[in-house]
C-alpha cells in the first residue's frame, strides 16, 4: 500500500512548515520520483598509488577505474535470484563514518616522541598528516553531501552513523572541531600561538617526525617525502570551511574519545600536562625526564628545580610551547555533553546521547531511525588500559533485552560500536570495577539469537572489512561492517543502502566513499581541498600504518550483502517507507540539496 494523495499533501504541508520552505516548492520536490544518483563514489572512480615511486619509496596518487558491486552470499547459503533487481525497494539509505581522528597536533599531551622509542607499537603517535585532519573531515562532509541519493535505488540519504574515535586524544578542542565541522561551522585547526605551528614537525632533533619545510634530516626524507614550504603555516592559519552534513548524525565512544592516546587510563597529571607549556621533542626526554615528574608534577618546587635544570642544559629535548587552556582534556561525561552543545539542524541534539545520559553517566543509547529500524549505540571502550575493547555486562544485558523487544515488535535492528569482532578481547579490569566484560565470541552468539539484528557497524582497525556471522544452521545471521578511517590511507568511509528485495531476502549495498579532495595533489596547492588531497597522499606513503592492508579487499568495499529477511517484510508497508523517504527528502531540500 503506497502513501495516499491525502496523506502526501498533509505530509508535504507539515514538512514545508517544519523546514520553512514554500509548500509548492516542497511539494514538487517530494513528488519527484526517486532518481538513481551519479554520485562521485568508488563505483565510478577509485584512487590508486603510482606504479613507480617518484622519489625514494614515495608514490603519488591518481584516479583509477571504478569498482562494481560484488554480491556476497555468505549468509544466504545460495546464490540469489536476478529478479530481485526489478522489484526491490530501499528501506533506509545512510552513511557510515568512523575513526575520524580529528587531531590537535600541537598539544603538549600528544606523546609524539614515543614513536622514536617504539615506532611499530605506536604507529599513530606522530603521523605526517596530523595537522590536516580537519581539512579531511570537511572533505568527507562534501563527499557525503554529494551522495544524497542512493546509486542503487535513488533513495534519499537519511542519516550518518559514526562509530567512534571522532577525536584523537580526549581533547576538548578536537571534540569541538569535529562536531563543528559535521554541523557546518568553520574551524581554524590551531592551538597555542596564533598562526604558528609549534611541535616536532619543526624541531630538528625530532627526527622521527616529518618536517615538510625540510625533511632531509628525518626518517620521512630518507624515504622521499617532499619538501612543502608553507604547509604547516597554511594548515594552522586558515579557516576550514564546512557545508555541514545535510542529515542527522549519531556518534558512539571510541577508545581515543575515552583514554589517553586511545590506550592509557586518564590521569589528573595528564590533564595538567595538556594545558601546560612544555613538550618533549625526543624519545629520551619523553621517557627519562618527562614522564618521571617533569611534566606531571606541577608543584612549585618541582617547577623551580626543572627550570634550573633546563637552563643548565640538563634537560635536552624538552621544549617550551605556548600554553592554551582550550587544550583541556575531557572528563568522561564531558564528551557526551559536548554533543549536546550542537544545533538542532542537522541534529539530533546530543547525536544519540541525551541530558539523561550526561546526568546518569550512561554512555550508550538507542534511537529509532524509522518506525521499523532501531539502532543501538554501545560504548565498548576499556577505561583501564589497552586500545581494544569489550562489552560491559550491563550493556550486554540491556542490549539483549532491547533486541528481544525488537523481535516482539517486528522491528529491524542494527548495533553500532567502536570495536569490532577482531578487537573485542580486552581483559583489563575497568577502573570503576565490578563489571564483568563480555568478549567477541559471547557477544556474537547473543546477537545471533535475534534474527532482527541484521548488522553490526564498527571501526577501530582502520581497515575496510566485512564479516559474515552465520548461524549454526548455515544460513541467516548478521553482517559485520567495518569501515576504514579518515586519518590513515585510504581515508574512506561508507554509504549503505538497506534494501528489501521483496523475495524474502534483504541486501545491504555498501559503497566505499573517498573524500571529495582530488586524487592527485598538485604540488604547491595549499588550499583547503589541496591540503585534504595532500593528507591522503602523505598517508598512502606512511609505511608504519601498512596502507595496502588498510584498503581491505574487493569483498570489503563495494558489495551487496545478501541475507534472509528475518520476518515477512511486507509488514513494513510501502506507505510507511515512502513517508520516511519524504521526510528524508525534505531535510535534504532544506539543506539545499537536490533531493
Amino acid at each position: 500500500m503506497s502513501l495516499s494523495r491525502r496523506t502526501f499533501i498533509a505530509s508535504t504541508a507539515a514538512l514545508a512548515a517544519t523546514w520553512g520552505i514554500a509548500r509548492e516548492v516542497m511539494g514538487q520536490a517530494l513528488a519527484a520520483p526517486l532518481r538513481l544518483a551519479d554520485s562521485p563514489t568508488t563505483l565510478l572512480q577509485t584512487i590508486k598509488m603510482s606504479a613507480q615511486p617518484v622519489r625514494g619509496d614515495y608514490r603519488t596518487l591518481l584516479a583509477g577505474a571504478g569498482e562494481d558491486f560484488i554480491p556476497r552470499y555468505d549468509l544466504l547459503g545460495r546464490t540469489a535470484d536476478d529478479a530481485r533487481t526489478r522489484s526491490r525497494r530501499s528501506l533506509y539509505y545512510f552513511a557510515h563514518l568512523s575513526d575520524i581522528h580529528v587531531i590537535d597536533a600541537q598539544t603538549p599531551a600528544r606523546m609524539d616522541a614515543i614513536q622514536s622509542l617504539a615506532p611499530t607499537l605506536f604507529t599513530d603517535a606522530c603521523r605526517p598528516q596530523d595537522t590536516l585532519t580537519v581539512h579531511v573531515l570537511a572533505s568527507v562532509v562534501d563527499s557525503v553531501a554529494a551522495a544524497q541519493t542512493s546509486s542503487v535505488t535513488g533513495a534519499p540519504l537519511a542519516s550518518a552513523l559514526s562509530t567512534g574515535d571522532s577525536a584523537d586524544n580526549l581533547s576538548q578542542l578536537e571534540t569541538r572541531w569535529y562536531i563543528d565541522i559535521l554541523d557546518g561551522k568553520d574551524v581554524i585547526p590551531n592551538s597555542g600561538a596564533t598562526g604558528q605551528y609549534e611541535g616536532p614537525q619543526v624541531w630538528a632533533e625530532a627526527t622521527y617526525a616529518y618536517h615538510p619545510e625540510d625533511p632531509s634530516g628525518d626518517v620521512y626524507g630518507e624515504r622521499g617525502y617532499p619538501t612543502i614550504p608553507g604547509m604547516l603555516a597554511a594548515a594552522v592559519s586558515n579557516p576550514v570551511q564546512s557545508q555541514g552534513l545535510p542529515i542527522p548524525w549519531y556518534a558512539v565512544y571510541g577508545n581515543h574519545d575515552s583514554t589517553f592516546m586511545g590506550t592509557f587510563r586518564p590521569d589528573p597529571a595528564l590533564f595538567a600536562w595538556a594545558v601546560g607549556d612544555r613538550k618533549a621533542a625526543t624519545g629520551d626526554a619523553l621517557a627519562v625526564n618527562w614522564l618521571q615528574g617533569y611534566a606531571s608534577d606541577l608543584s612549585a618546587a618541582q617547577m623551580a628545580a626543572n627550570a634550573i635544570r633546563q637552563q643548565l642544559g640538563l634537560l635536552p629535548g624538552i621544549k617550551t610551547v605556548t600554553p592554551d587552556p582550550a587544550r583541556k582534556m575531557l572528563e568522561r561525561t564531558e564528551f557526551m555533553q559536548a554533543h549536546l552543545e550542537s544545533p538542532a539542524v542537522p541534529g539530533p541534539v546530543g547525536h544519540g546521547w541525551t541530558q539523561a545520559n550526561v546526568d546518569s553517566g550512561q554512555t550508550w543509547w538507542s534511537a529509532d531511525l524509522t518506525p521499523y529500524l532501531r539502532v543501538f549505540g554501545l560504548d565498548t571502550c576499556n577505561m583501564a588500559s589497552g586500545a581494544d575493547g569489550a562489552v560491559p555486562k550491563d550493556q550486554f544485558t540491556w542490549l539483549e533485552a532491547q533486541l528481544a523487544q525488537c523481535e516482539t515488535e517486528g522491528r529491524l535492528a542494527m548495533v553500532c560500536s567502536h570495536h569490532n569482532s577482531f578487537t573485542l578481547e580486552n581483559d583489563a579490569t575497568p577502573v570503576w570495577g565490578g563489571q564483568q566484560l563480555v568478549h567477541a565470541e559471547e557477544f556474537i552468539a547473543m546477537l545471533l539469537r535475534y534474527p532482527v539484528c541484521i548488522a553490526w557497524l564498527n571501526g577501530h582497525t582502520h581497515v575496510n572489512t566485512i564479516t559474515a556471522h552465520t548461524r549454526d544452521t548455515g544460513t541467516g545471521g548478521f553482517w559485520e561492517i567495518t569501515t576504514a578511517s579518515c586519518v590513515d590511507f585510504p581515508q574512506q568511509q561508507q554509504l549503505i543502502d538497506l534494501v528489501d528485495n521483496r523475495d524474502g531476502t534483504l541486501s545491504f549495498f555498501v559503497t566505499a566513499l573517498d573524500h571529495a579532495a582530488p586524487p592527485t595533489w598538485t604540488p604547491g596547492d595549499l588550499s583547503q581541498t589541496g591540503l585534504a588531497s595532500l593528507s591522503r597522499e602523505l598517508a598512502a606513503n606512511s609505511w608504519l600504518s601498512d596502507p595496502p592492508r588498510l584498503a581491505g579487499s574487493p569483498l570489503d568495499r563495494n558489495v551487496e550483502l545478501l541475507m534472509p529477511a528475518p520476518f515477512d517484510l511486507s509488514a513494513i508497508t510501502d506507505a510507511a517507507v515512502e513517508a520516511e523517504q519524504i521526510k528524508a527528502k525534505a531535510q535534504l531540500l532544506a539543506h539545499g540539496g537536490a533531493a
Binding site: 603510482s50 546464490t79 622509542l117 588500559s385 583489563a428 582497525t461 559474515a468
Partner: protein, 115 residues
C-alpha cells in the same frame, strides 16, 4: 643512553601510565597479521573470478594461518599462510592450487595503478 636505554625508558613510560597488572592489555590494535592474509586471499579469489559462496574465514594455527571458505559449486577454498611477514601463502580451490606467493606483495600490487 645505551641501546637498551630506550627499551627501559619505554617500559618506565608504560608503567607510569597504567597499572602494571594491566600491561598485558597494552598490545597494539589486534588483528593485523590475520587481516593481511585474509585480504590477500580475497584479492586473489576475486582476480581469478572464483565464484565465492562463503568467503574464507581465517584463524591462527601454530604454523601460521588457515582460512576456509567455499564456492557456489560446493568446492572448498583453502588458504594457508606462514606466521610472519611477508606471509608466504597458498590458495587452493577444490584441491587445485591457484596461487602461491606472499600476501604482502599481493596487497601492495592491489593498491597500485594498473600497469
Amino acid at each position: 643512553m645505551t641501546r637498551v636505554g630506550p627499551v627501559v625508558a619505554l617500559g618506565a613510560a608504560v608503567a607510569l601510565l597504567t597499572a602494571c597488572s594491566q600491561v598485558a592489555s597494552l598490545t597494539p590494535v589486534s588483528g593485523a597479521s590475520v587481516t593481511t592474509v585474509r585480504n590477500a586471499a580475497n584479492v586473489i579469489l576475486v582476480e581469478q573470478e572464483v565464484p565465492i559462496l562463503v568467503a574464507p574465514t581465517c584463524s591462527a594455527v601454530d604454523a601460521g594461518f588457515t582460512c576456509v571458505g567455499s564456492t557456489v559449486d560446493g568446492e572448498e577454498i583453502l588458504v594457508t599462510a606462514g606466521p610472519a611477514k611477508p606471509f608466504d601463502m597458498s590458495v587452493a580451490v577444490g584441491g587445485q592450487v591457484i596461487f602461491e606467493g606472499n600476501a604482502t606483495d599481493v596487497l601492495q600490487e592491489a593498491v597500485l595503478e594498473a600497469s
